[in-house]
Homo-oligomer: 247 residues x 3
Amino acid sequence: MSLQKINKKQPLVHCITNYVVANFTANGLLAVGASPVMADAIEEAAEMASKANALLLNMGTLNDRAIQSMKLAGQSANAHQIPVVLDPVGAGATVFRYETAKQLLELLTISIIRCNVGEMAAIAGADWESKGVDSGEGEIDVAETAMQLANKYQCIVVVTGKQDVITDGKRLEYVDGGHVKVTKMTGSGCLLSALCAAVLACGAKPFEDLVLLLNEYKKASANSYASIGTFHTNFLNELESTAGGNQ
Amino acid sequence: MSLQKINKKQPLVHCITNYVVANFTANGLLAVGASPVMADAIEEAAEMASKANALLLNMGTLNDRAIQSMKLAGQSANAHQIPVVLDPVGAGATVFRYETAKQLLELLTISIIRCNVGEMAAIAGADWESKGVDSGEGEIDVAETAMQLANKYQCIVVVTGKQDVITDGKRLEYVDGGHVKVTKMTGSGCLLSALCAAVLACGAKPFEDLVLLLNEYKKASANSYASIGTFHTNFLNELESTAGGNQ
Amino acid sequence: MSLQKINKKQPLVHCITNYVVANFTANGLLAVGASPVMADAIEEAAEMASKANALLLNMGTLNDRAIQSMKLAGQSANAHQIPVVLDPVGAGATVFRYETAKQLLELLTISIIRCNVGEMAAIAGADWESKGVDSGEGEIDVAETAMQLANKYQCIVVVTGKQDVITDGKRLEYVDGGHVKVTKMTGSGCLLSALCAAVLACGAKPFEDLVLLLNEYKKASANSYASIGTFHTNFLNELESTAGGNQ
């Protein structure tokens, strides 16, 4: 029960994320008992990261200031043994995003890359046609590519989609279920990345706990099925109740 | 059925918009089957626009970086025959916004200006007292001013309010209905501008399809009537069902 | 009935706030009949503030541009006798935030400081361990510290938590009630700060009206009790109905 662990530990998760999903990410973390702090100023990125239990770097609405802050926060987190999660949003959409993702992966020790197939394909240099920040289409061996990426960067790779794939380069797990409607709720992947960070801040066994998280997240989306506006409400309700937080 | 056309085509809409409504705009586009991508970095604005099916320029929370990105994205869209929608948020509120709106209209080929009466009055140089980003009050012939603006910039002008007015400088249509409560939901006008961009990405007959969109949007707000929190939920539900997207 | 006064006066509230809660703040102000305008560009901050009925300065996602805009807007508001509310988000979290809060308090005439205990402790230089933007833990005489701060800066200090404390340096009131779940909804404190600004724009008797507002806000959260997703919806519904705005 990964969400329950988060709710018990209540980790402080420093998020440098995009303004599209910042509110949803904060509310999703709060729903399961974590404490989000969004701070992307160059002047405070390193200090804030050093005080957090985990750091999330999300490339959703990238700009030069945010990149500098991500580097400073990431280096600070690395220096303080604080786990870092990278969500390379739209890495396949523009050269700017691709190069930023590569820079962050080269510069920092990343514990988890959480992405969709299109973003993974871009980082891995595979042949793929991304569609903006959506996954897009192409031919690729998802598991094989994920394992290569995990071994190359010595991290856990979580590739989400109709079927999630998670690997640490040796172990490989598939997670099915959920509901496609979750893709109609902006930030559902971004929030999952934030929850991965929260899990790292709690778990003695990251890989096993992340597999549990993916299952809990799939189940939450399946249980939330409704018209899309109602789905948003249901989804936060589901996350909270799965975390045992509705007191 | 404009929203159904969007749901069938699933266009990629590049939005350079404000951080107040970015989440709502993304969720509204997703609700009807479009793919939103928010990207406002100077480094990628032109490339992202060139890959999109339509571009939205929304001045809601303007800053110097965003203006540069809007110009680069707009010129790229023009070069690639990708339609551009301008939402001159608060054009009457400050000199900075007024001058930015004029610059964008002079520099770029804009397909649609979607605004409220106060914003139109400001751009047209009419006597009007705006109230922040709200329409405000004054005496003006809305249809006449809209037609002048449409002819001056060779575009379609959509002026929304209790009664919507749409014109391409020759044809003129009025759309009534809806519910005033939609004005209590921030971003309802901004989302409509984004949907206008999505319609342009689909429609062989922009003017007719936009008239349909305005009717569908009015109907969605009328059908969503409830206390304001519930109204938000209902409105996304309505957009989705109108688009035929609730599977 | 402070929210009813807001709904009657419909003040224009200029918010320089963070991108995490900008949407929720705008929707909360709209729910009670106020007109929010979010504008943080250096080029327009002073002009926008001069046209507003109240100004909110919220440090949630601070950056150097926003600080310059806050100073320009604040000086403009002071020059035009427009009340200014400061929400020193995370003042105890980083040196950057602490120093910014102090700078704003030294430079500007602030009418209200709305904060949590951790933020107050930081500004007052008291011994306290903040947790990101959450209050954190420590030993402090909240009422005593709040009165000192109110006298030092000649303003009203509103410290919210399980029990709210409000003082103008002479008078002191406690407000109990509400529901802890409101702390699981990001921006609940930020929205309250915005409503404090709206009250200042309306009230002949700020202190009394703010005490009423705190009671109405506590009651709204108590009445909204539900799973967290539903709580969000209920809370906006409650604010609207308390303001008498559900027509």
